[in-house]
């Protein structure tokens, strides 16, 4: 047993012992602590800085809940638009840092919905603000500011994009540890933007719980496979400069990143009717462990070089097409930060579930689009349908409290 394992085990024992101690007065069971004996959620006090060289919500450890909100600007001119963006940043900053609910005269409507109580705890909240290509059309005189590489998301083979669930002038990625924090944030930001930007579409996401076996193990998506195993490590700054951040030399968009959102409906009932062997062959990994086929450890190199004919891992398997792990494809890698979604049931009685695919990359054409074209013929396409999403630019972070996301548009 390694030292780390021992410490983890001891901490867990301490938690159980602590609960047992309470249980002497409050009837704990042998199964573990009771829900009403647990301490208040510690995440409520987590604060993620809003200001910084890059926006929060990109390299930030992934919170449990998210909502993506696409907005269309309805203000008449550029000045109003930029003012709306200034106000958006100011309110987002205040909410993410945790603020007190303001008070007004008794006969006036309160300034905050107050659904989180007297204070708005930060709860690890991040609001990542991004712009779609449509913001740079002829309405606001911003055409010259459109960063090269920011286009409307094209239709890829097998896509069935619903215009009402895709695109948008502005996209907000709102993430926090609790659902009510996310909902409150959207409610307050909508109030800030009322009459200036209108919601075009929204999509709620949730993260699967960390269920191990190790703290590093990737969580499972709704096809039950571990998703994110091969994500580039966010603490490797040089790698992030190569794969995620747009170089500072690239003008006002420098320090930002391109955000690709794809609403991928997963036909989960159909998937559940597929044999385990075929499921694993389509992905290229074992469902339980997440190890590449023929391997034993989730993080093991699949060694495609030793399997040139695809006898172990099929040539058209997902992991092989998504990341061939060759020197030529190393700079195509993307940083994924996706969420599951569940939004009810369709006309045929099937669950409307899937993946909010979220990728951050320096250059959409070189990275995401190249990968996506490779994936066009993977067998998994029968089990998924992309119905919405878009391409966006998440500009650099705000320098200080006087700065705002998108201030480069005004320069």
């Amino acid at each position: 047993m390694s030292g780390i394992d021992r410490r983890t085990l001891l901490q867990r024992s301490a938690l159980v012992l602590g609960a047992g101690g309470l249980g002497a007065a409050g009837k704990a069971t042998a199964a573990g602590p009771r829900a009403d004996e647990l301490p208040p959620a510690p995440q409520l006090d987590l604060r993620v800085p809003f200001n910084g060289p890059h926006q929060a919500g990109i390299l930030t450890p992934q919170q449990d809940h998210a909502t993506f909100v696409a907005l269309d600007a309805v203000v008449p001119g550029q000045g109003d638009l930029l003012q709306a963006l200034r106000d958006l940043s100011a309110r987002a900053r205040s909410l993410t840092q945790g603020d007190a609910v303001g008070v007004r005269e008794d006969d006036e409507p309160p300034p905050d919905s107050g659904i989180l109580g007297e204070d708005n705890p930060p709860d690890g909240l991040t609001v990542t603000i991004a712009f779609g290509a449509s913001l740079f059309d002829d309405r606001y005189g911003l055409a010259a500011k459109r960063p090269p590489g920011l286009t409307a998301m094209p239709n890829f083979p097998n896509d069935a994009i619903d215009p009402a669930r895709s695109g948008g002038d502005v996209l907000l990625q709102v993430c926090a540890w609790h659902r009510d924090t996310v909902v409150h944030t959207i409610r307050e930001l909508q109030r800030t933007l009322a009459g200036r930007m209108m919601i075009r579409w929204t999509l709620d996401g949730f993260r699967s719980a960390d269920r191990g076996p190790t703290p590093r193990s990737a969580t499972r998506n709704l096809f039950a496979f571990r998703d994110g195993t091969a994500n580039p490590p966010v603490d490797d700054r040089a790698l992030m400069d190569r794969l995620v951040w747009i170089p500072r030399s690239a003008g006002w968009a420098g320090g930002g990143t391109f955000l690709v959102v794809r609403t991928i409906r997963m036909h989960v009932e159909f998937w559940d009717r597929v044999g385990m062997r075929e499921q694993q062959a389509m992905i290229g990994r074992y469902r339980v462990s997440g190890a590449p086929l023929g391997g034993t450890d989730e993080f093991e190199d699949p060694r495609f070089d030793l399997d040139p004919k695809g006898e172990r891992i099929a040539l058209d398997s997902h992991i092989r097409l998504a990341n061939p792990r060759t020197p030529g494809t190393a700079d195509q890698r993307i940083l994924r930060r996706g969420y599951n979604f569940h939004r009810g049931v369709d006309g045929a009685g099937n669950l409307d579930q899937g993946l909010i695919f979220v990728a951050f990359n320096q250059d959409i054409e070189r990275q995401f689009a190249t990968i996506q074209r490779r994936l066009a013929e993977e067998p998994m396409v029968d089990y998924i349908t992309t119905v919405g999403g878009g391409y966006f630019l998440a500009p650099a972070g705000a320098r200080d409290d006087g700065d705002w996301i998108g201030s480069g548009l005004a320069a």
């Binding site: 094209p154 239709n155 890829f156 083979p157 097998n158 896509d159 069935a160 994009i161 036909h267 009932e269 159909f270 009717r273 597929v274 044999g275 062997r277 590449p292 086929l293 023929g294 391997g295 093991e300 699949p302 060694r303 030793l306 006898e311 172990r312 369709d346 006309g347 045929a348 009685g349 099937n350 029968d382 349908t385």
Partner: protein, 358 residues
């Protein structure tokens, strides 16, 4: 050469071994009236006479399964329970069914191709009617002819790339095209559907119609030489209706006409055809065939009830009542659950072993 000697040597050995096993089992009974001692792994059941009544007309009473600690009256249900979780009573994985020779698929595929040729000819006849109605500018007549043409084509069950680019040209949706439904490359039956249900002039659809008829002619020419490998064919048995559920009952593939019920009925007929050709292969393999036939009949019943209630016609998806919709969705889901077991029960090779990374 006598009949007996024509039996291959290994079979004769197997028969002899079987006789020896039966003798051993009988010896075990003789030695112990209540079966072998604990841990005895020989297999058999202990028979004692029991009360003769309506429930047990032969007076058979089974107390214990030899080689198992599970009481006989629970044995069957426990075996069934554990097999559902993929293992036998000793916890070992349940053995797969013995593979079928790939040649066994030749006759079913040939029967399917002959069927597909008949429905292609029928599709072409309806397409000619559609051509005339478009030329005459009769929208309602053209819509009726479109339904007949499209439904006939779906009877082929040509999902999942069976006819590759030709299927895309005949029945493709515009999703992957750069400009979607507005793309100039959007063609085939759904392009005509869009035109007929969104007010385009019927005559303006004639160039698309001519292209469609050329594609159908090419299909008729290609069909006799079409090869379908066993894996593809047995997968088809469940994927045809998977398509109906995912693309037709949700209206994804019939956004303009809403004819999802008509299309589902056609794909159901195609599934019956594929299952019918596979019947000789499915006989006696884990009751899959009986389950599938029973669940497909329930789906047939749901479609037939809809047809009766709508005076002999299949309504659009929006025309379905809530209860009709629920029954259709429900019987479809049940049928799909049964069909999912068709491909694994008639495989042509044992599961390949995945080599280790080295």
């Amino acid at each position: 050469m006598s009949r007996v000697s024509s039996i291959p040597l290994h079979l004769r050995r197997a028969v002899l071994a079987g006789i020896a096993l039966v003798a051993l089992a009988l010896a075990a009974f003789a030695l112990s009236p209540f079966g072998g001692p604990r841990g005895d792994k020989s297999f058999g059941v202990l028979k004692l006479s029991g009360p003769v009544d309506d429930r047990n007309p032969l007076g058979v009473q089974v107390h214990k399964v030899v080689g198992s600690d599970v009481p006989a009256d629970l044995y069957g249900s426990q075996v069934g329970e554990s097999q559902r979780s993929g293992s036998d009573l000793t916890g070992r994985l349940v053995t797969e069914l013995a593979p079928i020779a790939p040649e066994a698929y030749e006759a079913p595929v040939a029967r399917y191709i002959a069927y597909a040729e008949r429905w292609t000819a029928r599709t072409r006849r309806h397409a000619r009617t559609l051509h005339r109605e478009l030329a005459a500018g009769d929208r309602r007549g053209a819509q009726a002819a479109w339904r007949a043409t499209w439904s006939s084509y779906l009877h082929l069950g040509a999902v999942y790339g069976l006819f590759g680019d030709l299927d895309q040209a005949i029945d493709g949706m515009p999703g992957g095209l750069p400009r979607g439904a507005a793309d100039p490359d959007f063609t085939g039956l759904h392009r005509i559907e869009k035109g007929l249900w969104t007010g385009e002039r019927p005559q303006a659809l004639l160039p698309t119609q001519r292209k469609l008829e050329r594609s159908l002619a090419a299909l008729a020419a290609e069909l006799p030489d079409t090869e379908i490998d066993p894996l593809d064919y047995r997968t088809r048995a469940h994927e045809i209706l998977e398509d109906a559920q995912r693309k037709l009952l949700t209206s994804t593939d019939v956004p303009w006409s809403g004819e999802g019920v008509l299309g589902t009925a056609a794909l159901l007929a195609a599934t019956h055809q594929v299952i019918g050709t596979l019947e000789p292969l499915l006989q006696g393999r884990n009751n899959v065939l009986i389950q599938v036939q029973s669940d497909l009949r329930a789906l047939d019943g749901a479609v037939a009830a809809i047809r009766r209630r709508h005076h002999g016609h299949l309504p659009t998806l929006n025309g379905l009542g809530r209860a009709e919709r629920a029954r259709l969705n429900g019987t479809m889901t049940t049928a799909l659950a049964a069909l999912a077991f068709v491909p694994p029960s008639i495989e042509t090779a044992p599961s390949p072993v995945i080599p280790r990374i080295k």
